[in-house]
Amino acid sequence: MAYILEVNNLRKEFKNFTLDNISFKLEPGYIMGFIGPNGAGKSTTIKLIMNLLKKDGGEVKIFGKDHEKYEKEVKNKIGFVYDENYYYEDLSIRAMRNIVASFYSDWDDEKFNKYLRDFDLNPKAKIKTLSKGMKMKFSLAVALSHNADLIIMDEPTSGLDPVFRREVLDILYSVIEDEGKSIFFSTHITTDLEKIADYITFINKGKIVFSKPKDEVLESYAIVKGGLDILNDSTRKEFIGIRETKVGFEALTDNIEKTRKTFGDRVLIEKANLEDIMVYSVRG
């Protein structure tokens, strides 16, 4: 199968952090959520994919092509949105558009202007005068205006209020529905992904915990609730992470059947959401 994004054994070493041979694959037409706590390696991975950081090992293929060897070709078909505004703040939207558009072979001005109208962005406005949400919309307008097949987003909803976040997610959803593009979307706000993602890749401390279809992830994990009397050294090992209170415990398991057999009616088993999975996996 031809993957739109393929990361194999990607490695990058820093003084205090190592991205440790991570691998995952994204098929065309799907949204992959890239989750993990702050400092897990999400932004580093995206910077490596975008060749902003130089990798120490492994390979990145985009549209089946090496991302360094065919850098110009693959970046022509990538739309990017970063967690902060890296555009020149002193420039107007129109001036920034003039710079960016000159690099793309397939820039679509009609589409860009439509997005500006839809997002209520004034082309004469200086980027520094825009709110964080408006800057994010401007980044989205740029990312969606050159017929990109892959949209890479690093924490696009971080720092946005729920209304703006929902708007951004709706836009992404319509992009996928109408145009069949693929989106690789990093975030630590997991509720965003439950709405739109098809696949979830979870990274923690520079290592991939899992990379699976979202439904499979949500089906394979569960929250277990029970009294403290059933917890001992042996039963604790059954769980990925436990939170104990004075009256009982709450834990995450990835082996629902075994948990049911072991504890029977003494525990309550509930569906886990992505946040539960991330929090318990990180905290232990």
Binding site: K75, Y86, Y88, D90, S102, F103, Y104
Partner: protein, 210 residues
């Protein structure tokens, strides 16, 4: 190349400091050195304008990380460097036109009697700009802009001092010690240095974490 030049020119017109520099630098030099050393003054204007225009876009990396945007666009790092080196000659041409008009107006208004076109200064100016940017560019392509700026200030102040000495003291100043150097040799040395600097910058920038 066009994208890099559009970016630099857009940034120039968006920067109040750069506009102020472009407008006030000529009157400042006229005030400092007078119009008696017209040739040196013209040389100083075209060299330092070109130098500042060439480096201006780097200064935006001090406050932001705009290099992430440029490097996420469909362009290879090596090309970014090559275009930057080539754009210096475009800015040199722009400077000759800009300075020419500016100084011509100063002449017309009888503010001072200065050269507004001097072929000899232009010929000397080309290797001077090449040498100064050849020293500074690798620093900007390798280090954080804040660190590279230190090297930029050293080059800028050295150039300014040398030009100032030449303008004030004429043949009795620094030029007396440099008179044995032939212009053709300087041209060749500048070209070699510029090419070596370009190669170094490409290698440094290609292997750098942004």
């Amino acid at each position: 190349m066009l994208g890099i030049i559009i970016r630099d020119i857009s940034l120039m017109f968006s920067s109040r400091q750069m506009i102020l520099f472009m407008v006030l630098y000529v009157p400042f030099l006229l005030y400092m050195f007078g119009s008696s050393a017209s040739e040196q003054l013209y040389l100083m204007i075209i060299v330092l304008y070109t130098y500042m225009m060439s480096l201006m876009s780097f200064s935006f990396d001090i406050t932001g990380k705009s290099r992430y945007i440029i490097n996420s666009l469909p362009i290879k790092r090596g090309k970014i460097v090559i275009y930057k080196y080539l754009s210096v000659f475009v800015y040199f041409a722009v400077t000759i036109v800009f300075a020419g008009i500016y100084l011509w107006i100063i002449n017309i208004l009888n503010i001072a009697n200065v050269d507004y076109f001097n072929l000899r200064s232009i010929i000397i100016g080309i290797p001077t700009v090449m040498i100064s940017t050849a020293i500074v560019f690798p620093a900007y392509f390798r280090f954080e802009a804040r660190i590279a700026q230190i090297i930029h200030f050293i080059v800028f102040l050295t150039s300014f001092t040398l030009f100032g000495n030449a303008a004030f003291a004429g043949d009795k100043g620094i030029l007396k010690y440099l008179s044995f150097i032939k212009l053709e040799h300087v041209m060749v040395a500048a070209l070699v240095l510029y090419i070596l600097s370009l190669i170094l910058s490409v290698v440094l920038y290609k292997n750098r974490d942004l």
